[in-house]
Symmetry: C2
Subunit: 334 residues, 2 copies
Amino acid sequence: MVTIDDVAAHAGVGVGTVSRVLNKSPQVSDATRARVEAAMAALDYRPSPLARGLSRGRPHSIGAVVPFFTHASAVERLRGVVAGLGSAGYDLVLFDVESPEHRAEHLAALARRDRAAGLLVISLPPPPAELERLVAAGMPVVLVDARGEGVPTVVTDDVEGGRIATQHLLDLGHERIAFIGEPPDNPLGFTATAQRERGWREALAHAGIDVDAELVRYCEHDRLVARTLGAEMLAAQRRPTAVFASSDVQATGVLLAAADAGLPVPDDLSVIGFDDIEISEYAGLTTVRQPLFESGRLGAELLLAGIDGGDTAPATHELPLELIVRSTTAAPRG
Amino acid sequence: MVTIDDVAAHAGVGVGTVSRVLNKSPQVSDATRARVEAAMAALDYRPSPLARGLSRGRPHSIGAVVPFFTHASAVERLRGVVAGLGSAGYDLVLFDVESPEHRAEHLAALARRDRAAGLLVISLPPPPAELERLVAAGMPVVLVDARGEGVPTVVTDDVEGGRIATQHLLDLGHERIAFIGEPPDNPLGFTATAQRERGWREALAHAGIDVDAELVRYCEHDRLVARTLGAEMLAAQRRPTAVFASSDVQATGVLLAAADAGLPVPDDLSVIGFDDIEISEYAGLTTVRQPLFESGRLGAELLLAGIDGGDTAPATHELPLELIVRSTTAAPRG
DNA sequence: TTGAAAGCGTTACCAC
DNA sequence: GTGGTAACGCTTTCAA
């Protein structure tokens, strides 16, 4: 394994000079630089990121803490992150989180400057104490789709999103509008669903409609489970004429339930989702689009800026939501 | 930042002893071990993976080289990898590849023992020279969904898969069976499509059916592009009664085209795909299922075994394919 | 069973 | 401009 010493010897210079060439220091004569570069090429030299990281005190990698399994939308955000990191040359290290213990473990291990150059926490609001610890350790952190104190944050206004979805249904003339989302007291502390439910409530209240407790249902972020839940809801005596699902995954589950029940959509049932994931366009699902990819990209860019010591302002960047009307919503029949 | 020296001082022992405790060396007295562990706890000590890696000559991370953007199926494989890595404690580093230059760059950079403890190359057959270089550098490598010499490999029999799909259509009574896939001469050297096409040809030949050149079409791995291509095909004079698409992404594009053309599926057109990705169940798509998640998991397990110096045999593990009949295939009309 | 010290491959500081 | 050398935080001999 060829090291910097080999290069130095081959070029007839000191290791310091090779290091300078490596790091594009301007104070190297052109002649020397050329000689060193020739030596590097001849030896097919590749610097050791490990040694570099140790010496500099921080590695050239950024960590992404993300619920990689449970939320399909997280993958799209991650794609944005990859794009945002672009050619900066950072390694992207994936930390999958499925449980609070999982998260605590990762976050604790990452609270060292030499664990990563920076951290992207996606969709998982870190407990304030753990976030503080990271910041105290000098670790640049950016939150994507999660809120927290003292660090840059990329979010959307989920309450507004809930209002947008509900208002769309109200505008079409619906009055019995159900809500399906994840339980508000989930262990990892996802808050998006609760916010969207709040938007739903506010829009209904504003329209002078009382909330029927029968029309609020919670289930995990899973299509088949939502299908079952939707079936129950649609079998009820006074079934809703429209459903607002807090995620497209659940919305497509409801679509399946409607098909099972022989209820034509949108004639007998309107369905609106949230996210606009890949499957939504295919399914013709009306939804509230949130910029998943863009959130990841912006998060990565903010993090890079923070690492470079530039913009460390803990600003909250709010990305716009957009109503995408497709073919699963219409005026209620008769 | 608390280091091993701090722990040693706090416990009143040498750093060597702390290191031994850290690495669960049996030759430490219980009393000493307890004292050291108490010190570690008191100081909230976390070892530096960087320093550890440098000292040991290889980091505790595994790299995954994967087309993260272009193939949805790669994500499911990656999920399997995360699961397979389990609690072994390795960091998972993502290397996204979109072009041959991209790949060459990553592979060259990774050809150092101290870049990763092992490498998982997913869906991208590495050029023999680059693979050889990795092996020569002593880097444990496992190929998932790609073939290569001298390293463990996890694959499926794509020719057989093409046969299975085509035979299903033949059994239903179809004779004009089209094929849609990615161009066989793609720059990254994906071979799956070409193999599936071969299976298609073989099945047709075996059934005594001549291939109509009109019925073979290539387009990129994209739903909308496949939709356009499908539209062309369905508008032709003698249109096929069935389509075998080399991926579910493309199959759903054809489904869209059929809907656009007002052709009922499966009555006027049968469609079968390949992969069984998430959207397929939702779409009711008949397909040839390949174990995406399982391939990632097995790949990870093989790699871990290889890293531990155990099973380094370059065995080829062939995972089974399965025909999943849903509602997009039926006997041709009349 | 334990301590001391020599690496591991860089970077960065200090002389020249 | 350039060379020498002390870190960086850990593992791993080698003695004791």
